[in-house]
Structures are given as C-alpha cells and as structure tokens.
C-alpha cells in the first residue's frame, strides 16, 4: 500500500535524528516492496478516499515511478543515516528538530509527486517539497546561502505557477485532472491553441525546477551554500523528480494530440540539453570551489537525462531513466565525500584542499570512485547509462553522430574536472599546516563508502534498475502510434 508519504508525514516532530532516520528507512523499505511488485509486471494503483478516479485522486506506481521512488527514498534514507556528525557541526542544536522535520517533509513531498497520478496533486506535493528544500538550504551557515535560496524560491515559485497555469489550461480543454483520463480525453479536443500554450507553460515551469539550461542559474549557488548533507539529498533527487514529471506529462498527455510531436519535443529539448551539457561541463572545468564545481557538473548531467528523453525512443528514454538513477548514485557519493572533507576542512576551495589524500585517504578514495562513475568509466554505473545514451544517439538518425561527439567531448571535459580534483587532493602540497585533520567520522565514512561501492555494483550488475528503466520507456511510449 502506498503509505510511504503517510509514514513520513506522521513524524512532524523529528525530535531526534533517530526518529527521522527510522521514517526514512521505512519509506525506503516500502519503495523496495513496491518496486518488486512492479517488476512482477503490473502497475500498482490506489484510490484515495475510496473515490474512483477521476472523481477522486488516484495514486499509480509503474516502472518509471518505482525507479524514481527507489532513488528518492534511498537517497533520503542514506543521507539521513550519515547526517548526524555533519549536521551537528553546521546547525545549532535548538534548530535541529525543525531541520529534520523539514527533511522529512521534503522526502514526503518528493515521494508524493512520484506516486501521484493526478496533475493538481503533483502541484501540491511539488510545493511541499520545494518549501522544504528552501528551508533546508537556508540552514547553511554561510550568509551567502540566503540570497541563493531566495533566488531559488523566486524561480521555483514562478516555475510552480507556470505549471499551475498549464494544468489549468489543459483542464479547461479536457475537464479532468487525472493523468490517465487526460490522455484519453485529449483526443477529443478540437482547438489546439490552448493546449500548445499549456504545453509550453508546463514545460517551462518544470524546466525551471529541474535546472534545465538556461534556467539553471539558481542551482550552483544553492548547492554550494547549503548544509553539506542537504546538498547530498537534493543533488541526488530534487531535480530528477521535476524531470520525471516533465517526461511523464509529455508522454502521457501531449504526445498523441500534437502532430509531429516527436519532432517538436526533440526540437526544443535537444538543443537545450546539448547546450546544458557543453556549457556546464566547460564552466565546471574552471570552477574554484569544490561544491560549486560538482553543482555545475550536475547541470550537465541533467542535460544528459533530458537528451536521452528527447530522443523519444525506447533506447533514449531507457538511457535517460538509467542516468537519473546512476547520477544520483554518483553525485550522492561525491557530495557525501565532500561532507567528509568538510568535516575538517573549513574552506572548500580547491586551492585550500591540497594534499588531503594523505590525511583522509579513505574519503579521497571514495571520491575518486564516484568521480570515475561520473565520467563513465567501464565497470561503474555511469558507464552503463552513457553507453545507453550513445546507442540511442546512434539510432536517432542524421544528427546521431554529432550527438555522439557531444557526449564524448563532454565526457572528456568531465575527465578534466575530476582530474583537477584528484590532482589537488593527491598531488598538491597542503596549503596550510593544520594539525588535527584526521579521517572523517565513521558514520559519514561508512555511508560514503557504501554509496561508492554501489556505484561499482550497479556498474557490473545493472539488472534491476535496467529492467525498470526499460519498463519505463515501454510504458511511456505505450500510447505512441
């Protein structure tokens, strides 16, 4: 039963970190159970309040939802397990219960979006998760967190409002809010203009939330100045859920009606995805602050996911979905390692991190592993999704080769920026003579290594996420003529 949101919601008073973590683990367990059920071949549905859709609100979990749900709850739980030492350092004690409560709300919101099958319900939970993430980011100790989160708030709210306008327009033309119902009724619509405008609004709104180029400007600052564990959580899931909604809405509602839809979506999404990949990777090569470098790299990765989706083919969507999963693993691991580093190093600029490997060997080794996954070295999870992406590109017709070159070039750029990090950590002389820098606390370290190892595990044995991803593509494309 879909009580993942419920369980998390019933802990509003995260009186201790323990309570929050327990809730996180329970939701993860439920997500795993759901995923196994879905793998068995059926979509799980649930009618809220006993009212059948479309009169009531229905929840539905299919392959795509299950995949994203796994990664959301997994990331939330994992980050929580590791969170204690880092949060203790960054947030004052009296505020901690509020902080954990906000975390749970964020987790509930994201989970709620993924399992929902009703367009307006998605909006409500989207706002829950957004508000929660604003709160979490604002907990950052650096005062620069505040303008960063303000910008995110403004852009995020505009995005949500655009989404609302779009949904309103679609509702105006079809009379329903349930996604499956919309898919059925949109065929009857005669006047297309409002639908086109609606599609535009929904896409822009969600693109703002997902940090698609060029609407990504809020992301680097927000990730950099947020408390470190918050960055782990958000980098792994927040934008991906927005992309999830975008892809789902697009495939279910708009594809049938808009003729030449495939070409249209590709026309808009692909160039933006490509630009995002190239520009962001390029900028990341020159960044001086470790967190901002990784944050900018995330924008590029979002570009990859969007690129995969824009192919609107079985291979493309599978690649996109896989990359959602793998990037969450890779970036989550990287930011966990950063949190370990940050435990002792105050300043995260690369110039100050020289020689860290000598003092924190385990942390840096984990960082290297995740970095390799980010690049896409064979044997890591990242490789699987990059490979799928290249295959999809090759199938995509005349632009295929250009896109393959784009992917390869950007991967090279990733090598450059990961190498910069590695070089600083291992080969540069320490900037200051600080004593007392030892390895990070065990709790943090264990979690970091767990995620790093998962990167390898899923690289060598990608069966489960791969099946789900392929299933997602099939389900999403199911309505296509």
């Amino acid at each position: 039963m879909l009580s993942a949101p419920l369980v998390v919601l019933l802990q509003p008073r995260g009186l201790a970190w323990a309570g929050a973590t327990a809730a996180g683990l329970v939701s993860f367990a439920i997500a795993v159970a759901l995923a196994m059920a879905v793998l068995g071949g059926e979509t799980q549905t649930y009618a809220m309040g006993g009212w059948p859709a479309p009169y009531g609100i229905a929840l539905a979990v299919d392959d795509f939802s299950a995949l994203v749900l796994l990664l959301v709850t997994g990331a939330g739980a994992a980050a929580l397990l590791a969170a204690r030492p880092s949060v203790d350092k960054q947030i004052e004690e009296e505020r901690q219960p509020l902080f954990y409560a906000a975390w749970l709300l964020g987790l509930a919101g994201l989970a709620g979006i993924v399992v929902s099958a009703d367009a307006f319900n998605i909006f409500v939970f989207m706002e829950i998760s957004s508000l929660a993430s604003y709160i979490l980011i604002a907990g950052g100790p650096d005062r620069r967190a505040l303008p960063a989160v303000f910008k995110y708030l403004i852009m995020g709210t505009i995005g949500a409002t655009f989404y609302l306008i779009g949904v309103g327009l679609v509702y105006m033309m079809t009379g329903t809010l349930n996604l499956a119902d919309m898919q059925a009724r949109i065929g009857d619509v005669v006047d297309l203009n409002p639908i086109l405008v609606a599609a535009g609004f929904i896409t822009i709104g969600l693109a703002l939330k997902a940090a698609v180029f060029p609407l990504h400007v809020w992301l680097p600052n927000a990730y950099t100045h947020a408390p470190h564990m918050v960055t782990v959580f958000l980098a792994a899931c927040a934008t991906k859920v927005a992309l999830y909604v975008l892809i789902r809405f697009d495939s279910m509602v708009f594809q049938d009606k808009l003729s030449d839809h495939v070409i249209q979506f590709a026309m808009f999404a692909m160039p933006l995805a490509v630009l995002g990949i190239l520009v962001a990777s390029a900028v990341a090569m020159f960044e001086g602050n470790l967190k901002r470098l990784l944050g900018t790299s995330s924008v590029a990765q979002i570009g990859y996911i969007l690129l995969g989706a824009s192919f609107v083919s079985q291979a493309g969507i599978t690649a996109g979905a896989m990359h959602m999963f793998n990037h969450a693993l890779a970036k989550g691991g990287l930011f966990l390692a950063v949190a370990c580093l940050a435990y002792h190093y105050r300043d995260l600029r690369l110039s100050q991190l020289g020689g860290a490997a000598a003092r924190m060997p385990w942390t840096c080794a984990a960082l290297v592993l995740c970095g390799l996954s980010l690049i896409g070295v064979p044997g890591t999870a990242g490789f699987i999704s990059k490979w799928l992406l290249i295959t999809a590109a090759l199938d995509a017709g005349p632009w295929g080769w250009t896109l393959v070159i784009v992917i390869l070039v950007s991967s090279l750029m990733a090598v450059v920026y990961v190498w910069r990090i590695v070089e600083t950590l291992y080969f540069q002389a320490p900037a200051t003579e600080e004593t007392g820098i030892v390895e990070a606390p065990l709790q943090l370290l264990l979690m970091t290594w767990l995620v790093a190892l998962l990167n390898i595990a899923f690289g060598l044995a990608p069966a489960i996420p791969l099946t789900l991803a392929e299933g997602s593509a099939a389900a999403l494309l199911g309505g296509m003529p």
Binding site: F120, F123, V124, E127, L131, Y134, I135, A138, R143, R144, L146, P147, V149, F150, L153, I154, T157, I158, T161, L164, I165, G168, Y171, M172, L177
Partner: protein, 119 residues
Amino acid sequence: MKLLDLLGYYNYWVFAVVLMVGLYAVISKNNLIKKLIGLSIFQSAVFLLYITMDKVEGGTAPIIQAGVENQIFSNPLPQVLILTAIVVGVSTLALGLAIVVRIREAYGTIEEHEILGAD
C-alpha cells in the same frame, strides 16, 4: 449575451496583463520585497484564470439548498483547487519574507545589486 461574451474574453485578457505585470516586477525590480509582492500578484492572476473557468451562465454558488429543484450551479472543482493554491501562495510568501529579514540582518540591505556586490 454579448456582454457576457465580452466579459469572458476580458477576464482572460486581464489575467494575461496582470500576470505579466507581476512577472515584470519579479524580473526587473531589485528590491527583494518588491519582487515578493510581484510574485504574489503573479500568483493571484492565476487564481483569476481558474475561477473564470468555473462560472456557468445563470448559475450560482455551488451550495445545494434544500427544497430548490433544478438549480444550475457553477463548477466547484476550480474553487477547490484555488483554495489550495491561495494557501500555498501565502506559505511561500511567509517563507520568502523570513529569508528577506535574515538577508537584511546579514547584509544590511535588501537591494539585489548591493547584495551581489557585497560578496
């Protein structure tokens, strides 16, 4: 008949104009509180859009009165959605203002260009 038609389209145009006025304020003003005000105007315009949709000619508010048969009602669904949206809007606003207050304390100003310059 004619007046109602005109009113119908007028509603939508007002929606478009107010929406853009709000958006303009958010994008181009430097003062953070002004931006938030613009944001709230922007959101209110959306409410207008939804509620305009729900009116049925000759209808009345969807409250069933005992003993009156064959009443024409306006659509209750957009109203429900907007009730939710109003509350969401206010919540976001409250958070935004709390952040602005903190920014003022940390930076001494709430003009965006000054804040960007300070770091």
